[in-house]
């Protein structure tokens, strides 16, 4: 497919990338491109200019702090995270990334791209919501760090504004996590997914059922189904699942994720 004409720049620093993004309302950051290039083919996105973040070492890498927290560069690919010894401090991260698409996409697609595209069927928005990740956003006005609950704003929309970039992802220490999904084929697009973490109580984030991950809390695995019912989900219907079936799956998958987290 021939893309619409587009300009291209490959900045050498985050500062240069921010300048390029701020200078042009039609500029978009290009991360792994495993979503953006395809939606450009379909003209669902038609940026005037692409600012390629590949090669910005400042946005790569995973560091493990002495307190067990992880600092993840958003341009880290899924494959790099899966292979990272540091990332094993929070094993669910690598486990979930290993179920995203296929080898080729995992070699190119990035953690930050998954979060910033915020497609409701993506794996990482609910996961980062459940485990209480925080995102650092940088722009001309400086740097701010927001919790996941303030990061995901709507379908394809996040707190990263025009002229800004997600520059770091902070993951707290913890090991008691779970994830469950029903997908279109093995490791395909999620129909519903659920991420859970246990830290004395269960925090569960449901994906694919609303514009942003839906958080529910429960005291025990036995309370999860009731907690999901209490969220009064009204998920969308499509060719893959009716609204009623998605709502049913949300309860089933929340319980599976919670059982893994609490187990």
């Amino acid at each position: 497919m021939l893309l619409r004409e587009v300009e291209y720049a490959k900045p050498a620093s985050v500062a240069e990338a921010l300048t390029l993004l701020a200078a042009d309302d039609g500029a978009r950051a290009l991360a792994g491109g495993q979503t953006l290039i395809n939606v450009m083919k379909a003209r669902a996105a038609s940026p005037d200019a692409l600012v390629d973040l590949n090669g910005l070492e400042e946005l790569k890498g995973i560091e493990l702090g002495a307190d067990g927290t992880l600092s993840i560069g958003p341009m880290t690919t899924y494959a790099e995270l899966i292979a990272s010894a540091e990332a094993r401090a929070r094993p669910i991260l690598g486990e979930v990334c290993a179920t995203i698409a296929d080898v080729q996409v995992r070699n190119r697609g990035t953690i930050g791209g998954n979060l910033c595209s915020n497609d409701p069927t993506n794996h990482l928005p609910p996961l980062m919501s459940a485990i209480g990740a925080q995102m650092t956003i940088t722009g001309a006005g400086g740097t701010r760090t927001v919790p996941a609950s303030d990061f995901f704003l709507g379908v394809y929309m996040t707190a990263v504004g025009p002229g800004e970039l997600l520059t770091r992802i902070h993951v707290p220490a913890g090991r008691h996590d779970g994830f469950a999904a029903v997908t279109l084929g093995v490791d395909g697009t999620c129909i519903v997914n659920a991420a859970a973490t246990w830290d004395g109580k269960l925090r569960i984030a449901l994906g694919c059922v609303d514009a942003v991950p839906v958080l529910v809390e429960a005291d025990s695995v036995d309370d999860v189904r009731a907690a999901v019912r209490g969220a009064r989900l009204d998920p969308p219907s499509d060719v893959h699942a009716s609204s009623e079936y998605r709502a049913h799956l949300a309860g089933v998958l929340a319980e599976r994720a919670a059982r893994q987290a609490a187990g």
């Binding site: 497919m1 021939l2 893309l3 619409r4 004409e5 587009v6 300009e7 291209y8 490959k10 491109g33 495993q34 290039i37 395809n38 083919k41 692409l50 390629d52 590949n54 494959a79 698409a101 296929d102 080898v103 080729q104 996409v105 070699n107 190119r108 093995v186 490791d187």
Partner: protein, 150 residues
Amino acid sequence: MDVAVSVNGTVYERDVEPRKLLIHFLRDDLDLTGSHIGCDTGNCGACSVIFDGKLVKSCMLLAVQANGAQIETVEGLSEGDELNALQRAFREHHALQCGYCTPGMLMSATALLRDNPSPSDDEIKTALQGNICRCTGYWNIFEAVKAAAR
């Protein structure tokens, strides 16, 4: 935009539009038509190439992103006029019917065996997950890769 791309060890210098996908650059500008366009949506894997040592789908990269990169395509697999061991295993195990997916399958298997010369059955299946074949039912492809791995 001027780019210099190494493909199978040969450096090509070309002027490309930023909107050109890497797969179109390989096929139309360099006349390397071994890599195929199947779905053009990143699903089928027929356009798979090795990009700086990593297996990627060349329909989801821009040609300008390959500036300075080392690319390997199916044209680079044979040893002179002879098929390499993996290609021979595909022939011996009848691992293709129409052959459309084969260049991508070969590149995925090449990337696998380079990183992991003795993969388990599950590792072979996972490595081929991004490549769709509509003829074979996959079994003979799996058998060919397994034979080449020994």
